[in-house]
Symmetry: C2
Subunit: 313 residues, 2 copies
């Protein structure tokens, strides 16, 4: 680790918020000290509560997040928020708008908001999220809210970082529930029917209840109604989040080994992916293979055979 | 390549369907000859038409696929079908039912159906799909239909293999369209409103049209109505697929380099992922690191630092 990184890390551990932001950028840019920094950070994690919030655009996630921030601040908890939009530029506008709404908290030093856009493949986004969660945790945030749009594979990967995941739906989400059944149940610890003062709320509520009854294992996924805009149902939500945290505490150790190994492999593969992308280029270490591939003198499979001969793992 | 694999490959190139099935299993099990087999196969690809079909469960994809098979058979094309369900056991039943419906084609030697379930991370499923597509292509199938359930990240990865992708929706899909806007536009070459004799079809049609008008780049994604069960709209669909194939032919060269490189990296990383999973285990090459990780003497980041010291790429 070079001396300026070391100084940055010292300032971070003295609770300097500017050092926090700078370290995030350093990690983001895959600085050569990244792994060492993250290793030092990881050892100082205090075990913050990690709450994932996901659901379709327009389901009111950000309003809900906003209310949760206020509630946790009332309990004197420091709150970190990571807002992620893994999809393409399309929804950028909406997310930006949401962020602006959250600015009432931006003067509050105990609230820290970080946005993340899309990344390359091979765990890019989920690794970036994991790193930022670690940084916020080690810095001393008590609660970390991770908000994503949508409920696809990327969100599923990201949500594995959260200890409690809220899936936010609205009365219009019937078709989404049918489409996403398996994914929803895999991801959700708590179902929320937001905007539940709208028509159709009871039906969605019943559908989610029966989904939960049929497919829950261990923890029976509760379904609650909220109207985030009017702050209705948010106190109940806080109680249920706490109940899930308690329930989870008992079982956590069981899956520890699996999580450690998959974290480790994810980090390693994303490192190797970066290096290999660099090697397999016009001026890279594997430029010969690159040229043969591009000129179709070899195919991707024989290129892999060639590269595997050079790689020692 | 060992001699029995070589014989299998010879029989494959003599159009022996049992050799095709056996090679699929060999590749599936990551036999040590896999890469060499795939390299030989890849060089014999003839450029089959690759059509992806995706959409929520219950949208009638399989019925549509069934009708397409019949149409292509009437044109004397040989048709390979890959049916993929990346989600959990939940929808297994439905997919199985769909497969049974397709069995009217199973006596037809010029139709070959292969199902694929979920795989591990790191491109497992999309690599498996890619390999099977190559096998079917090299074997001499003219048209390859790739059917998946859902429209998440996994499907997006898989659909990058298809040259023309159909997204099948139904009149009830309004919320899905809102949720998945970006993903849908990224994936779709043709939108289909199936079951269009149901109420709400016109509205969905209009929504998709305006989505297409707003966000299409180059090829303006057409929207067509079908009632697959009654074979309505399928002739028009065949024409539009052919039109897209023609349109695409002109541009293909542009993205060739990018596709070759990302294929190559995907294959290599999935190979390395397999090896590393084996190494990082109680009896593996990195068992020391494994033990330190499990006993929390080191964290995932420092474990990666240690492994990177041993890895030469």
């Amino acid at each position: 680790m070079n001396s300026s990184t070391k100084k940055l890390l010292d300032r971070f551990f003295q609770a300097d918020q500017r050092a926090l932001a700078k370290l995030m950028t350093l990690i983001d840019n895959r600085h050569e000290d990244s792994l060492e920094v993250m290793s030092a950070i990881h050892d100082q994690e205090k075990g913050a509560q990690r709450i994932g919030i996901t659901g379709p655009p327009g389901s009111g996630k950000s309003t809900l997040v906003d209310k949760l921030i206020t509630k946790y601040r009332q309990l004197e908890k420091k709150v970190g928020i990571i807002a992620i939009d893994p999809s393409s530029p399309f929804s950028g506008g909406a997310v930006l708008g949401d962020r602006i709404r959250m600015q009432e908290h931006s003067a509050d030093n105990a609230v820290f908001i970080r946005s993340l856009g899309s990344r390359g493949a091979h765990g890019g986004l989920s690794r970036a999220t994991r790193d930022i969660v670690s940084l916020l945790d080690a810095f001393g945030f008590d609660v970390i809210l991770i908000e994503t749009v949508g409920v696809g594979q990327t969100e599923l990967d990201i949500m594995s970082i959260a200890s409690t995941t809220l899936v936010v739906l609205v009365p219009e989400s019937g078709d989404t529930i049918q489409t996403m059944k398996a994914g929803l149940m895999e991801i959700a610890d708590i179902f929320i029917v937001n905007k539940s003062d709208r028509e159709g709320a009871d039906q969605i509520f019943a559908e989610l209840r029966s989904l939960s009854e049929m497919y829950s294992t261990g923890w029976e996924v509760p379904v609650i109604k909220t109207v985030a805009l009017k702050n209705e149902g948010t106190t109940e939500l806080m109680e249920i989040i706490a109940a899930h945290e308690k329930h989870r505490g008992k079982q956590e150790k069981l899956s520890d080994e699996h999580i450690l190994l998959s974290d480790c492999l994810e980090i390693l593969l994303s490192e190797l992916s970066d290096d290999l992308t660099e090697h397999l280029s016009p001026k890279g270490k594997y430029k010969k293979i690159y040229q043969n591939l591009i000129s179709q003198k070899c195919n991707p499979y024989s290129a892999v055979i060639e590269m595997k001969k050079k790689i020692k793992i």
